[in-house]
Symmetry: C2
């Protein structure tokens, strides 16, 4: 799911290097019919599905004369997820990923999770479904994959702390005054990772790390107070797990998403991946700083949302998407992203926020929060 995006393309890159070990049943994309058709043909998929029904005829045409079945629309996507498979990559971006990913979990398919919203907006519901179906959830985000590799779940009561690292993004060394004038072009210059614009802006505000804190809370057997963030500009150490005997286990790698994707593909074994091997001597030095909660209030907001346990993480995520879009369109400045999220969280709280109990309630709250953020955005301008 999400084959045409960055994670999807990297996944297929790995699968394509070892075709004897994998059989691709279905591939889905959002709108890019041309690429999806190419991928489906190259990987001998049985089925290619576009989430956006308007691209159906283009896809159908591109697949004419091949054995690949073409389909489009949400129902077709759900049907594809329903096909019996061993493993699914859940890499649809945004809340569109919620329903199909939850469906895969419900069926007990092993899910490699790259979608953030499942845990940020619907964490409790999602993890209850994981527990009920007994399926295996393999996080694909580099930080959570690292945590999963460094954690020993047999001694969960001995885990004292889990530390996620953050590069600090392009504004790590900027003053608040400089940040107030930052343009989208400034924010899109991520020092280490190449990602889509939404994720890159989230890295610049540290909201990405806030969202990852929320995800880590759902993925790992720790409380919010046991989760911490440290700034590590080189993005080599991805997560550290601290145990009661003073030991810290950490996962390190060159910043290449194919490493965590390969881990999720081969787990519990390991497969070869064509990534640059870590050369600590060449890197020379790994540095660590405390995050600045003043210049990066998004991190504080995410922690507040997590601790309130009342649906605030859904509001945070929805309002952030609206705010990031507005920033990318040059409608608001960088500091207004967090300001808008904070305002939306406050307004939602005043209006009587309560924890959503179903996926429909999550999607309703998500929609309401977007509306709320849009109207607050008008006030802000």
């Amino acid at each position: 799911m999400g084959a045409t995006g960055s994670i999807g393309r990297s996944t297929l890159d790995l699968i394509g290097r070892d075709p004897a070990s994998f059989h691709v049943v279905a591939l889905s994309g959002n709108r890019n019919a041309e690429l999806l058709a190419k991928q489906a043909i190259a990987h001998n998929a049985e089925l290619a599905v576009l989430a956006d029904p308007s691209g159906y005829s283009e896809l159908k045409e591109a697949l004419a004369g091949t054995p690949v079945e073409a389909a489009a629309g949400e129902e077709a996507l759900m049907e594809a997820v329903g096909r019996p498979v061993d493993w699914v990559m859940a890499a649809i971006v945004g809340s569109a990923g919620l329903r199909p990913t939850l469906e895969a979990v419900r069926q007990g398919t092993c899910v490699a999770l790259a979608n953030k919203e499942c845990l940020v907006s619907a964490g409790d519901i999602f993890m209850e479904t994981v527990a009920k179906s007994g399926t295996r959830l393999l996080p694909v985000d580099s930080e959570h994959s690292a945590g999963f590799q460094a954690i020993d779940l047999n001694v969960r009561e001995s885990i004292e702390k889990i530390v996620l690292t953050a590069s600090g993004g392009p504004f790590r060394t900027w003053t608040a005054e400089q940040m107030a004038k930052a343009s989208p072009q400034d924010a899109l210059k991520h020092p280490n990772w190449s990602m889509g614009p939404k994720n890159t802006i989230d890295s610049a505000t540290l909201m990405n790390k806030g969202l990852e804190l929320i995800e880590a809370y759902h993925l790992f057997p720790v409380g919010p107070e046991q989760l911490d963030v440290v700034i590590h500009p080189q993005s080599i150490v991805h997560c550290l797990v601290e145990y009661s005997d003073g030991s810290v286990l950490a996962q390190l790698s060159s910043p290449d998403m194919r490493t965590p994707i390969a881990y999720s593909l081969a787990w519990p074994a390991r497969m070869w991946a064509p990534t640059e091997r870590l050369d600590l001597v060449k890197i020379g030095s790994l540095s660590f700083e405390a995050p600045d909660y003043e210049r990066f209030p998004a991190l504080r907001l995410a922690r507040e949302a997590l601790e309130s346990d009342n649906g605030a993480t859904t509001v945070l995520n929805a309002a952030n998407e609206i705010a990031v879009d507005a920033f990318l369109d040059c409608r608001i400045g960088l500091p207004s992203i967090s300001a808008l999220v904070a305002a939306a969280m406050e307004a939602a709280d005043r209006a009587g926020l309560s924890k959503p109990r179903s996926l429909d309630e999550v999607l309703d709250l998500d929609e309401q929060s977007r509306g709320l953020a849009r109207s607050l955005l008008k006030e802000l301008k």
Copy 2:
């Protein structure tokens, strides 16, 4: 075994904080009857054994009126090892530790291994005995404990490399000329660890890391070419295991031997240890350099000995002990330590070295090599 030494005292420190979880059957020391008696009384041991029989009456006297049995001599030590226990700490220093540790392994007792000679001088014989008895060997050296924590033996064919870190010791930034004039006092100033004089000098010449390379070869399922050493002055990252998907798992901790000892005591669980928790923000930076094989030839000699696979590691270890003693007594300079070891290895090789096939052959070769080193020492002076 070795209760009165640094590792032994730290082990008892941990056990003493949780007396309900441990029952101490026997404690052994070398010569320090007073401390051994105190320890045996404090920890309600059944038996206290001095390896050196000359201290027997002092021990007997110190234990008079207590329920602790006193004994002395090698036979008494072997009898103590023969008592049925779940776990033994093998922390006797030097080749004196070979027989009793091997006996514990033979009996199938879980062995926490702090003695270096078992693997350096008698690695093949030792590991064959481990395999035969099916016992669990838990390395206590911080680097090997770290490797043991970071290695996933279920995917051994996916391990590409194991990297041991070395602080670089007090002479890391010294020139060869300065090192030639280094005094024992200079060499005993270890930047991070507090150890006995032999280990501290080995850290200054990097012979300790050479010996650890040899041990790592026996402990982990990799070839000599898959083992590497990197200089890491802060001694925070202790070992890194690199996998075929580009992931590197590492263990980090503040330099305190109670962390690896606690790991060996509680394995496969974890116990609480009163060590300083790792604070990467406070530390700020972790740096890494390539080792300089010119200024630190000991590292090269150890690798050569490992690769020759003909008993040369026994010669290396024996000659090094003689050389370190001579350096500590101001009879030779620092560069002569490696020179003496190299000369002994060459002479032994010329005399027709062959791999020892029993512990007796190891002990013979060890003794011969000491004699050889002593005579070469005279030539050197």
